[in-house]
């Protein structure tokens, strides 16, 4: 059965794409989680849906071949810029940006879906992910995005972690917080767009946060947490893709359940080592 993934071209692209998003989603997710921005990822994924619906609508009505992944990415990046503006406007109520963007994204999606004469399988694939939907073009686009994400994180790792831990200190020491933050939110938009083919709009934020939540229970430092997050993310994507294919279930569902299973094991393991005299958590 696993051999199928190498035998058929479309499955091979799915498999490689899965490997890529298993790295980039949890990698960026570590920063998203420690900055308490998990819900922003969720809001952005709904804006991405609006972009995809827009692409499908334009394609259907005007027969202009916009790849929905590109329009989704465009919307996602615009949405991320808009979130930043909202967070600056409502400085004391930064979480307000989330319902505004999220509902705006869903509202736009509904309109474009209706204009394109309702649901079709393609849209269903974008919502919950698909094992067979990754085209060769999609794969190359996602590969390019992945290279960009990993490079930028490697180059800006020090600045990102410094800013995430203590923004005031970062600014005082001379780090350009606004620029780095802007870069970060753009990266988030790109990762979401890249991951949607496999996990789907509705579950993409899970792949950015659940492996990190599991890693957080076990890791001692930040670098270790990044490593564990990527390992857990990869494991979840692989298990999810293979079982999804085997049972003909959209992989979004199986990947998220695999992530939750890993999370539960991590929580259980921590409790076990706590009771057997491991590191005493909560000691101050």
């Amino acid at each position: 059965m696993i051999a199928d993934f190498f035998e058929y071209d479309f499955l091979r692209h799915t498999f490689y794409t899965g490997l890529l998003i298993g790295i980039i989603a949890p990698l960026l997710g570590t920063f998203i989680v420690v900055r308490r921005l998990s819900l922003i990822a969720d809001a952005l994924s709904h804006v991405t849906l609006a972009g995809i619906a827009f692409g499908l609508f334009v394609d259907k009505k005007f027969a202009i071949g916009i790849t929905p992944l590109y329009s989704g990415m465009g919307f996602s990046v615009l949405g991320s810029i808009f979130i930043e503006k909202l967070r600056a406007v409502y400085n004391a109520y930064q979480e307000l940006a989330i319902p505004i963007i999220l509902s705006g994204g869903v509202g736009l999606s509904v309109i474009f879906i209706a204009l394109a004469d309702g649901f079709n399988t393609d849209l269903f694939n974008y919502l919950f992910g698909s094992v067979s939907a990754v085209s060769k073009q999609d794969f190359y686009l996602i590969l390019a995005i992945s290279v960009i994400i990993v490079t930028v994180i490697l180059v800006f790792y020090k600045q990102l972690i410094t800013l995430s831990f203590d923004e005031e200190h970062a600014v005082v020491s001379g780090i350009h917080a606004k620029r780095i933050h802007f870069l970060f939110i753009i990266l988030t938009a790109l990762v979401i767009a890249a991951s949607i083919r496999i996990v789907g709009v509705l579950l993409v934020s899970a792949l950015m946060t659940l492996p990190v939540a599991a890693a957080m229970r076990l890791a001692k430092g930040f670098k270790q947490m990044m490593l564990f997050s990527v390992l857990f993310g990869e494991a979840a994507v692989m298990i999810g893709l293979i079982t999804g294919y085997f049972f003909s279930i959209p992989p979004g569902g199986t990947i998220v359940l695999a992530s939750i299973a890993i999370l539960l094991i991590a929580i259980g393991k921590k409790r076990l080592s706590y009771h057997s005299g491991g590191i005493a958590y909560g000691s101050k």
Binding site: V34, V155, F156, K158, Q159, I161, T162, S164, F165, D166, E168, H169, A170, V171, V172, S173, G174, I175, M216, A219, K220, G221, F222, K223, Q224, M225, I279, Y281, S283, K284
Partner: protein, 251 residues
């Protein structure tokens, strides 16, 4: 004339039409250990934030290391330990080593890597605050006093010439407060770091500092701590609105 590393002239800052700071003329000489005292809401933290470039004054000039602030670029010369150091995200999964390394981020810059030399610097700073055994511990698992030391290590790892601390002993127990002042003394005497310490602890101030400044919208006192102690306790009582005892502050 002593080498002045921070100076302000006619500094004024208002927030929602209320003057927080009015016409502040201030000088900090190299090598000194200055205590900045004053009542809550007297503008101490605002003053510090202006010096650090976090707030823009409404008028007045600021010189840092002889340069007008607008032209000053070398922020690694200034280390800062904020009030917030005791309210940081304690669930943040970073080791002591990782946190102290963050003090070098701006100095290393964007495209250069963290080298063995940097690692050595970080370990030395951790050593300097007496936390060598905790380098690989998670920062959230340490006590308040230990965390405070780590934040000092983060501030001194870039070898600053000036260290600014904003009420760093809030939430730290008495025994650790003593060790904390000992550490500041060492940094000042043995490493020649100029200190500017915002505090409520006027007793400790008079024992350790070389200069005391009292701030309540305007500068009320600027000089020798002994002088400060002798000077009209009545004045200060008026300033604070209640009698003042030169005792260590209870938390």
């Amino acid at each position: 004339m002593a080498d002045t590393i921070v100076s302000t002239t006619s500094l004024t800052y208002a927030y929602e039409r209320k003057n927080i700071l009015t016409d502040i003329h201030f000088e900090l000489a190299r090598g000194s250990f200055m205590g900045l005292v004053g009542p809550n809401g007297g503008g101490k933290t605002t003053f510090i934030k202006i010096i650090l470039g976090l707030l823009q004054p409404d008028s007045g000039t600021i010189y840092l290391f002889g340069q007008p602030m607008q032209q000053f670029k070398d922020w690694s010369k200034i280390g800062f330990v904020s009030q917030k150091a005791n309210t940081f995200n304690k669930g943040f999964p970073a080791t002591v080593f990782e946190v102290v390394s963050m003090g070098l981020t701006a100095k290393i810059g964007y495209f250069k890597r963290f080298t063995a030399k940097h690692k050595e610097k970080v370990l030395r700073a951790i050593d300097q605050v007496g936390m060598r055994d905790y380098a690989n511990e998670n920062i959230g698992h340490l006590s308040g006093g230990q965390q405070q030391r780590i934040f000092i290590a983060r501030a001194i790892v870039s070898s600053p010439e000036l260290l600014i601390l904003d009420e760093p002993t809030v939430g730290v127990d008495q025994e650790n407060v003593q060790r904390f002042y000992q550490l500041l003394h060492e940094l000042n005497h043995e490493h020649g770091i100029t200190l500017l310490l915002v505090t409520h602890d006027t007793g400790a101030m008079t024992r350790h500092a070389t200069d005391v400044v009292c701030l309540n919208e305007t500068l009320h006192f600027h000089g020798d701590p002994k002088e400060y102690e002798k000077q009209t306790k009545q004045d200060l009582s008026d300033l604070y609105g209640h009698p003042i005892n030169s005792l260590t502050h209870e938390h």
